[in-house]
Symmetry: D2
Subunit: 153 residues, 4 copies
């Protein structure tokens, strides 16, 4: 159960529509698997073209799914007419991103009028065993009265 | 001029070979444009499939080229028989990653036996005008006696 | 219950002795209130001379008790002959540090041979109500064969 | 020369007055030594009661002077009727804080209407030799129409 009440009842539709506009997420094969108020999960199957020199998932890909999971956890709590900006994030890479599936979880810790702070976690699932491979913190900004979609879309 | 003396004369070849093994870098179209001791630059042309919902480059892609630039800045100072691990990084996104070309710069600030700390910066070039769109700090670990290439390659 | 097994049975004595050598902790009035393997809490009563311009506890004091809590959470898992170094930490200040008592909690998330990563949290207790005022992540290094006390003590 | 134009001509007086209200800064013996638009330095002489277990300056004290230096670098660019909040900061401790004098420098990298991002650096001066002992990044928030001094002062 979430501790947060969304400002907009249609939060899940807004999150899914915005995620659908992130071409990078669909390009790497990431998909939204959980959308609750202040709590979002993204799943990414392993792909060889997402790897670094040791054949693990590249740290930037780990960061990308963590950034989007936290961003949408924050965005789910925003009013309907707002868009979002990642101010900053920090990620500790705890273990190699080795496995068949990667699950990024973003959870809002504090949601204010302007800034939201999220906890980030990325888990690797290898042969059914789950290992936390990254943990992080992220600060996001709510921009009111600014559409989330680019003009002309 | 760099303040660091590389432990291995063939540092540039090692950096280029390792970067060449990062399939994610070639997949997104990133390439190494500068390899000096403790100072590496990566260039990435804009591509629509690297974008987030506002059509700017996704924060995870910005993080990916910054992580690789800092990682290879550190790796350039390592002995020949060592590989590298990103321990953690933090990125402040200062401006939208909007433009035709993105340049990530990693510079070693301190290089110790085990840990190296790098400064990260990503610049966006839009119609000839350069804007710093991200700045960060990164901690990297030197693993001696461990090959940088995966077994069997 | 802790998920970590300490390398040294006398971990609590080592933590208390080292904390006792941190003159800054005793100067500000901080004391250890919990020492378990990978889990340490420090309590600090409010004092006017620890404040910033709004009369809340200074962010640096919040950082100091968080840094020591995380440092000793890591140190509790180290072998008897090792000392510790904070590599880096990041703190999000979620709410003003306003209250009569502040409790910093450090918890190890991952403890490796060389590096330990801790979660940091600082809570403010004001008139019996507890508010999380800071959350953070910290990376610590284990230095084996190096005494924790300075020479001649 | 600074790249920033202050919004308020009396910025230096405002910075000095606010710093004067930070009781923690005067308690540890820190003083402002440089106040330019977006660029502030704080000096701290070594004192035994500011030390950790190795007799170096405690990481929290290093963080405190870095946090205040960056905070006032940002505050120097704010309009006259605004106060400031540290949103978050990250610090890499590059070398032991060992010496007779410590100099924290905060420099604004980007100053927006709501958020300012600063670079942080702490140098240790030991027998005339300067060593960078910490580097960091900090995000600050401008709160307009809110006095920097607490009520009744």
């Amino acid at each position: 159960m979430s501790a947060f009440t969304p400002a907009d009842d249609a939060f899940a539709e807004r999150v899914r529509a915005s995620f659908g506009r992130q071409k990078f997420m669909s390009m790497i094969g990431a998909r939204l698997v959980r959308v609750e108020p202040g709590h979002v999960q993204i799943e990414l199957p392993y792909r060889d073209d997402l790897s670094q020199q040791h054949r693990f998932i590249h740290g930037g890909v780990t960061a990308a799914i963590a950034d989007s999971a936290g961003g949408y956890a924050a965005f789910s709590l925003f009013p309907a007419d707002a868009t979002i900006l990642t101010v900053e994030f920090k990620l500790n890479l705890l273990a190699p991103a080795e496995g068949q599936t990667f699950v990024a979880t973003g959870k809002a810790l504090r949601s204010g009028r302007t800034l939201t702070v999220c906890n980030l976690e990325v888990a690797a699932v290898a042969d059914g065993v789950t290992t936390i491979c990254a943990t992080g913190l992220q600060t996001l900004m709510c921009l009111r009265g600014r559409p989330d979609a680019p003009p002309g879309t």
